[in-house]
Symmetry: C3
Subunit: 435 residues, 3 copies
């Protein structure tokens, strides 16, 4: 995997993908997910789309009936639509049951969701496991609804079908795997969540064209039930093979970077993420596992305990637009997406490069004969070789690249040319492969 | 063991016990100890009283002769008593040899102890292992003694007899034991030391009426020689069985809480004590093992190394009234005693509840079917289940209850209802028993 | 090894040795090294001098040709010497090739080294592995050189010969070894480096007259190539035997103390050094291994990984006179040398005394029968025995003397009389020997 390859400037492209996918009515299941995955498959040849029947069991969970929405609206009895999911698909509570009713204002209010603290925002509400129906509106819209009665229509189907997810395995020369997991169940929101699928797609396109040591497993799932289902099908394989993984979510705004560790921290994914964040972004917020909130809840659960963490821009739950209609195409920017892509690609590049080296003999190497030592040792010249010698000093077969770079306080990437030169000159050799 | 059972308000009762026991002339051995243990036995049915003959060897120590005091006084030659142990049994140096002498003021002064810095305090002085005699007085009393000569009488016996200690074992369903050790050798002082026996007695009465998983071993000993003797008789048993223990001392004033760790720290007793103190009192002082000063010196000694620590109110050596007549029934209060009882009972309750749990399958549990998940997932509703899921996240078979609660920053007691519900619903099972 | 023996005041003597050795023209090889070692051998009977032929291979390094300088000067064509190594042997670049040329000022300048920031200092420059020639001058001297042309003469031989080093093994009763390594390749500089050979010599004289448990290996080498060569000849022996070692360098000024740890820190040498520095000097600077710069680069290299660290006065690279003619006999002082001697001797004394003790039975010892306990236990008397009991508390067979002293926050030397008394009285015995 070569660093800083052509095609790096994918921010605009990712933002276009997000824009294309934004209007689609997605939910846990249904045609919105299929349309989304078809779009991704167009960008990621080889993406396999799997359908799992409703009722399938997975670790105590059940794949729900499939939900498809044709339209949902509230109109006055003279046919004036006062709420319409055609204008914003957040207007309907996800997994609402089909209804066709005339209700008074009081009854309608009992099925309305709005946010008093954010008068212009439509909240994002779902009810996957309890049968109900409802609409979401801004406070301003709610205030202007009028007295009713209202004709309420949710033209949807909620019946046995299937759950749909996408999977792409990019084989490397090693059986060690990296898991990238993102979710495709959120309707019209941008940071949480179309940024994750967009960045994952861009990473997949980059990986597809790169020489790979590691094998990459990219999954596009509905959140929670999707990852649980996926775990239930592949648990032993994943436990045996995955050396590092990331949940890719909230990857699109331009405000900050965020890190959520794995359950106990300290895995290769954690070490790689922290190293990259410390060296490649100006600042980031370090959360704890108690602040988690996406599919690491499944991947890191006791019994699975995969080495999976998250590197994000503004983390779910922490930004004001979260889970509302304000999380839109203006919040997510090309440079925000590019930042996530860059950091996560650096993580993968570091994983690809990660190894342990050991010296072939004791003593500091004679750099002169290797062409690396300044020929005249004046007072300051020693500083020029100090870095090389610091690298050699920790080529002890114990420190991997990440640990070595952390030990000497330098970016791992800056050390790679040195390690290559040392390897070529026979000063160091690679120790048995990192797992 | 049920938490916050009836009869919790035992502060007044404990203070009455302390008041009843206060005037008794106690020492390492003798009838004062027997009278004290008889009083305790009246409150703790089943307390066994053991007599160990003078001269018995234990780890290099020898049980001393038994000392019994009938009276000790200093009078002028016209019979006016200027010092009299009948008014305060601290007036006589513990283990003083019997004397009946006429001495001048200079000779008397050589046998007087007082505290220049505390003119109203009678100091507490003993001489267990070197034959001598002496009196303790306040500086004010000393200044008013007059010029003598004086008639000095210590009417005591110091001759082969026995050392007396009490022991109560409350059998639980497990053979794992908890050791509670307190001492009964101090004469008329209240915090150090009648508070310890009072709190230990109250804990014993509570334990006797409680359902017990663990077995409890309560010992009422003379300090140092008593615990060494006890160790010498039961060392292998204690090393095999004791999972946690506390020296109960300085448990009666109302000023602060204190913690002294075991020799290396980190035992179950230490972890439980710190967890309870951090969650149940507003502040406490954390000492090191170098600040120790009671029978943990024996229980934690190399070769014994029992998991024993101390949770106290004002620690010995740290408060101005320590080892003087000012450590009296006004320093020790019902609420001070109650505070010690509450904290130590919480420690025992936490021990009783302590276990390791593990999930029965990977993935976060589907809380909905278990009746624990809010049916409509609005923006804030996730917070309602976060706590449950944090508990589940560390039910990994490694974290015990204390570690789990520390990990997620909550009181272990607040997590118990959650763990019960999770256990009942089959989400988690208990891992093999904590030892 | 007895502490604070006669002959401690060796500062003046060491300073005289430094003064005697100062004018000698030393380099990696050659007669200057031999003269220096002969002087040391006069002070350290038994010092073996080894000669290793040019061309000898060692871990990828090659022993260079031997360099001997007869004279080096620059003169005007009318014979006025404007630079002359007879006035200061730093004037010639070490390992300069022989030349006899007439050059113009421009050509001369290309072979001159001076320090713009230090106008009165002659820099120290060498070119061991690249054939060249050159002169070093102060900026002031350079400005006054005139326009030339100049007659340049370096009357030197650079041809196959040998590398010379000295070695003294002082056998102790144990086969465990302590390595003291210093270097003899620097010409006329005092702190870096004649202080190291002087202090090492003084330590050797003290050790030669002391009762030794440990075996001491003192080596006087040319830096880098010398220690690499030495390692290549003795690696397996050193890895098996050396329990601690020090590179003795920059040991002569009076400004501060410095510590550079071994590669990973925490070895016995590191623990001993830190303990001594913390208790015996008022302040010191704690560097990291990244700040290393002498033969610990070899001894601590992966593959060797000997437990070697450095305790210095002003560390190389950190003081303004470093590697210039200003590092002279006024920078290095008798008291500066004495301070290094004292600290390093304390390190060796601590090593000699280091052991693990364990109690012979549980419980605090009955100090009374041992004559150590105050006979009357008044309020403050317990403090008098607390220290003894703190020592006993950590005689657990795990803590060695250094760890024990660190644990209780006291100087290890202050605990030795206590440990002796405890050992004599049978309270503790020595655990199997520290390695």
């Amino acid at each position: 995997v070569a660093r800083r390859t052509a095609g790096d400037d994918v921010g605009q492209e990712m933002h276009r993908w997000v824009s294309d996918l934004f209007p689609i009515t997605r939910s846990l299941t249904g045609d919105g997910v299929r349309t989304t995955l078809a779009y991704v498959a167009g960008l990621l040849p080889g993406l396999e789309v799997h359908e799992v029947p409703s009722g399938t069991q997975a670790f105590g969970w059940t794949v729900p009936d499939e939900w498809n929405l044709r339209s949902a609206y509230v109109e006055t009895l003279d046919g004036a639509r006062v709420i319409d999911s055609a204008t914003n698909n957040l207007h309907v509570v996800g997994y609402s049951q089909p209804v066709d009713l005339v209700v008074d204002r009081g009854e309608l209010d009992r099925h309305l969701h709005s946010l008093p603290g954010q008068p212009t925002a439509i909240p994002y509400v779902t009810s996957y496991y309890t049968p109900t129906w409802g609409f979401c509106v801004s406070e301003e819209q709610r205030a202007a609804l009028g007295g009713g009665p209202f004709h309420v229509v949710i033209d949807a189907t909620l019946e046995p079908g299937s759950l749909t997810y996408g999977e792409l395995v990019l084989q490397g020369s090693s059986e060690d795997e990296v898991l990238l997991s993102t979710y495709v169940c959120h309707p019209s929101m941008a940071n949480n969540e179309l940024s994750g699928p967009a960045v994952t797609t861009a990473l997949g396109r980059w990986l597809a064209g790169a020489e790979r040591r590691l094998t990459y497993r990219l999954v596009f799932l509905p959140e929670t039930i999707g990852s649980i289902l996926y775990l239930s099908r592949h648990l032993e394989h994943l436990k045996r093979r995955v050396v590092a993984g990331w949940v890719v979510t909230c990857a699109g705004d331009d405000r900050t970077y965020s890190y959520v560790p794995s359950r106990l921290g300290g895995t290769l994914a954690d070490r790689v993420s922290l190293h990259v964040l410390q060296h490649e972004v100006s600042a980031f917020t370090r959360y704890t596992f108690l602040d988690r909130g996406s599919d690491e809840r499944q991947y890191c659960s006791p019994g699975a305990d995969l080495p999976v963490c998250s590197v994000m821009r503004s983390k779910y739950h922490t930004y004001p637009e979260y889970h509302t209609s304000l999380d839109d195409l203006s919040l997510v920017t090309p440079s925000g997406l590019q930042g996530s892509f860059d950091v996560l690609r650096s993580c993968l590049e570091l994983l690809e490069a990660n190894a342990r080296w050991q010296v072939t003999q004791p003593g500091e190497p004679a750099l002169g004969p290797l062409g690396l030592y300044p020929t005249t040792s004046t007072k300051d010249a020693a500083a020029a070789v100090r870095r090389i010698l610091n690298v050699v000093a920790y080529c002890d077969g114990d420190h991997d690249l990440v640990a070595l770079a952390d030990r000497i306080g330098e970016s791992a990437f800056d050390l790679l040319p040195i390690l290559s030169a040392l390897e070529e000159s026979g000063v160091v050799v690679r120790a048995p492969q990192e797992r």
